[in-house]
């Protein structure tokens, strides 16, 4: 990394290189926390179009952007997907919930839909916001249910709160223009039995995707989601409420909108080490 440069160029470069190392460290931590996209920030303001996507989800408005790591360690960046012209489906997921089991064990709703639209520029991402479910647990469930789409890890519940995810499942569709065009239930059958088929059965996500791909507006943009409650950690409730109101989503950067580290603390530590 930069360490070799530090050694060769001597101590008069000390401060600048310390900064570089610290930024690098912060970036590493940010990446570990799933926020590798801090190039969106300009001080504490959002750069360019990122500004439109830095607020809580609302149907009809630009969808909140985020980056996250899935249960297999791969990073996914919603901003990048939108810029690539993808439609993105977010599916709140919890393997222990009977309403999720309905669509993975009793039926195959999610896997079938993800597969149906895979080659049509639709990216299907499940999200786990259960505070005490680890990537390992999620990966095990994914294997058991032959889930081929990524399951994003959101144990801090930050993405869940950005989108206002209340239930598992809870579905959101982001158009290729980056607008939130659907929020709500997977279908019109709020039960835990096998998924309904027949004339009266409506799969809202299937219908919305067909409409979007056909260049049409989504007829039902918002429905009441059904399922188990998303298992956010209890302490998180108060902490993030005010953050959300103040567009605390802030550019998808952890810690409120700046990609400069808390300089004072970091420099103090580094100074001691040196």
């Amino acid at each position: 990394m930069n360490l070799n440069l530090v050694m060769r160029k001597g101590l008069n470069m000390g401060n600048r290189l310390l900064m570089g190392m610290t930024v690098g460290l912060v970036a590493m931590f940010a990446a570990a926390a799933g926020y590798a996209n801090c190039g969106n920030c300009d001080g504490d303001k959002c750069k360019g179009d990122m500004k439109d996507h830095a607020h809580a989800a609302e149907v009809g408005k630009p969808a909140p952007w985020f980056t996250a790591t899935d249960a297999n360690g791969n990073t996914h960046d919603l901003a990048a997907l939108t810029r690539q012209g993808k439609i993105v489906v977010l599916e709140w997921f919890s393997p222990g919930c009977p309403f999720v089991q309905k669509h993975y064990a009793k039926g195959s709703t999610m896997n079938d839909l993800a597969k149906k639209y895979a080659d049509k520029d639709v990216v299907w991402l499940a999200v786990s916001s259960t505070y005490d479910l680890s990537a390992g647990d999620v990966a095990k469930a994914a294997e058991q249910w032959s889930i081929n789409h990524p399951v994003l890890m959101d144990q801090t519940g930050k993405i869940g709160r950005m989108y206002g995810a209340k239930t598992t499942p809870n579905m959101f569709i982001i158009s290729k223009e980056g607008v939130l065009v659907y929020s709500g239930a997977i279908d019109n059958d709020p039960t835990a039995g096998a998924p309904k088929t027949g004339e009266d059965a409506i799969n809202y996500v299937d219908r919305a995707l067909t409409e979007l791909l056909g260049g049409k507006a989504v007829t039902t943009a918002e429905t009441r989601a059904y399922g188990c409650s998303v298992k956010y950690a209890k302490e998180q409730a108060n902490a993030s409420e005010s953050k959300m109101d103040n567009a605390g989503v802030a550019c998808g950067c952890e810690g409120g909108g700046t990609d400069k580290p808390k300089e004072k603390d970091k420099d103090k530590d580094k100074g001691k080490a040196a």
Binding site: P95, G96, G160, T219, A221
Partner: protein
């Protein structure tokens, strides 16, 4: 080193066991944590007459079931009656629920401990009935009972009753039915004095009691046309302001809709509730008027 490995191995195993796909709380089933019984207020129903029927749910400690509007997550119990020919069951009546936080500020409405849902059974007229005969009133019940996990349950319950003239005095469950009757929402026990706002925007409704009450809140009733969330309730002694967010599900068919809900409050140490109707216009109707 061996001890460390052992501890790690144990931890991994325990985590694995606890989070196996489809695992439920401690391996219990919905049927194990909920006792469901069907009761009648008296032993006999007369031809053309009626009797009260109660569906009692008793939950183990820390478990809850949901109200007809479960809130932002959860599912209400569903009852499908199986009745003898000619007998008709009224709609279910739901005692006033409690509101709880399902974690992370997710609102839930439901019941802990026990609750009895109520209905009235009406018998066909004498010509269609054989008196001095036993009938079975039965129901298939699907319900969701939750703690930190949710368990879906399915059961069949039934109760026997006699058909005859005149009620047997000293009816068996009158006290129980009186208890749960007292916990049903009332009608017209509070006045809605003002409703401002429209569908798709913030709605505020003012409730007035004519005397000081406390702890007023609002529980929306289920609706197929709009999603209602309670934003805030401000108690002001003899009045309260209820701020709601009312969002349409798909396109609204009519220009005006009614948001229905329960106003719940404390009065003289007693918890009371009353059903109210809030008439609202949809946004485009408001625009036209301007």
């Amino acid at each position: 080193m061996n001890q460390m490995l052992y501890i790690v191995a144990m931890a991994v195993m325990l985590i694995g066991a606890a989070t196996a796909v489809g695992a439920s709380g401690g391996g219990e089933s919905a049927e194990q944590v909920t006792k469901i019984t069907l009761l009648t207020d008296r032993g006999t129903i007369s031809p053309g007459g009626s009797m009260r029927v109660g569906l009692m749910f008793e939950m183990k400690e820390h478990w809850h079931i949901y109200w007809r509007n479960p809130g932002e997550a959860g599912l209400p119990p569903r009852v499908r009656w199986k009745l003898p020919e000619g007998f008709v069951m009224s709609d279910l009546r739901w005692p006033t629920p409690v509101q709880f936080d399902q974690g992370g500020g997710i609102v839930g409405y439901g019941y802990m401990g026990k609750v009895m849902l109520l209905a009235t059974l009406t018998a066909p007229s004498a010509e269609k009935l054989e008196t001095n005969k036993s009938i079975y009133i039965a129901a298939d019940v699907d319900w969701l009972v939750c703690n930190n996990v949710c368990l879906p349950g399915k059961t069949a319950v039934s109760v026997e009753a006699a058909v005859g003239e005149g009620a047997i005095p000293g009816a068996k469950n009158e006290a129980l039915f009186a208890y749960w009757d007292k916990r049903l929402p009332e009608r017209d026990a509070v006045k809605v004095t003002q409703v401002t706002g429209e569908v798709g925007r913030r709605v505020t409704a003012t409730m007035a009691w004519g005397k000081p009450v406390t702890d007023a809140t609002f529980f929306p009733l289920p609706d197929t046309e709009v999603m209602v969330t309670v934003v805030k309730v401000t108690n002001r002694g003899e009045q309260a302001d209820v701020a709601l967010s009312v969002r349409p599900i798909g396109k609204l068919k009519a220009d005006a809709i009614r948001v229905r809900g329960l106003v719940v409050w404390m009065e003289d140490g007693r918890r009371r509730s009353s059903e109210v109707d809030l008439p609202l216009r949809s946004a485009h109707q408001e625009a036209r008027r301007k």
